[in-house]
């Protein structure tokens, strides 16, 4: 009783971190809040809408990439990566929500604008922004999946790969490629 959107989102995040995305179900959230599943539907029209709010919460600490910061792309990418890895399955949640968000309203747009400022053609800026975003999300998703595989020790992994290092390596490569394109 006395529910509100924020309480529900917080509860969902707790379940996410503790048990993972497959366990984030409407019934599970409801039961954790000692409420009927149908009660959630007064506050959210669907599970998708609830997950969108969860994704927003995950991205809340992420600073905007403001004007003139095209040189800090690597830093910003690392921060996005860090924010995603702070929650279990964070990358998957954000990705599933970003999929339904028009590009114009997503975080990719600010990257595109910085790249356009820094002298890329509009078309290349768009492609590069999309690529960089997918690269960071993809690395985070892979890291999450490895984390899960290790929990179930399905795999005997030889690598003690640090996700943050690998992320920075790949982003550095991509940014070097962008700089190359700029000078042509």
């Amino acid at each position: 009783m006395n529910l509100n959107r924020h309480t529900i989102v917080t509860c969902a995040l707790t379940i996410l971190d503790t048990y993972g995305l497959p366990d984030v179900t409407m019934r599970r959230i409801a039961s954790a809040l000692s409420v009927q599943p149908s009660a959630l539907y007064w506050h959210f029209a669907s599970k998708q809408e609830l997950l969108a709010a969860v994704a927003e919460e995950i991205l809340h600490d992420l600073p905007r990439l403001s004007s003139g910061e095209s040189t800090r792309l690597r830093l910003w990418a690392a921060r996005l990566h860090g924010v995603l890895l702070r929650h279990r399955d964070g990358a998957e949640v954000v990705w599933s929500v970003l999929a339904l968000t028009p590009w114009e309203e997503g975080i990719g747009l600010t990257i595109e604008q910085r790249l356009a400022e820094s002298g890329l053609t509009a078309s290349l800026a768009h492609s590069a922004a999309q690529g960089l975003l997918n690269l960071v999300l993809g690395q985070a998703l892979s890291a999450d999946q490895r984390r899960q595989a290790q929990l179930l020790n399905v795999t005997t992994l030889t690598d003690a790969d640090d996700p943050a290092t690998t992320l920075d390596d790949t982003v550095a490569i991509f940014v070097a490629g962008i700089d190359q394109a700029r000078s042509c």
Copy 2:
């Protein structure tokens, strides 16, 4: 009756292409084959195992990146992208399966080997291979998601973005970055 693994996989692929991944359920496949759901479990231990076979089928047409082909990375990436987009939700299926595959047995390893041959350090070759794979998978996943959004016309998209063009743009950037790293 008279089921076998191949028949089941083919049926699953048909449902995938026609209705999308959410509709690929054990019960749905069984009913399409006029069989009880439990019958599938004689041939596959779980849905995961079935999906792994589906992913293998999707990747079947993909040529291996053989020795000395590091210069054809762009071409190979385009082929992988193409294979993924040939089936609805293809990228998602392959990604979910690749997540459970040890790196040593996945398609990423061959990329890593080519890059190592071409003069990258072992560590960088590993990162770059992972990044390139995630980039291609990520672009394919995004393209799939846009395709779906357009089917439900959730979004009024301004872009007539060609996925293949964008893919090649981003891969070209990444490969340029790799070449840069090689010459240092």
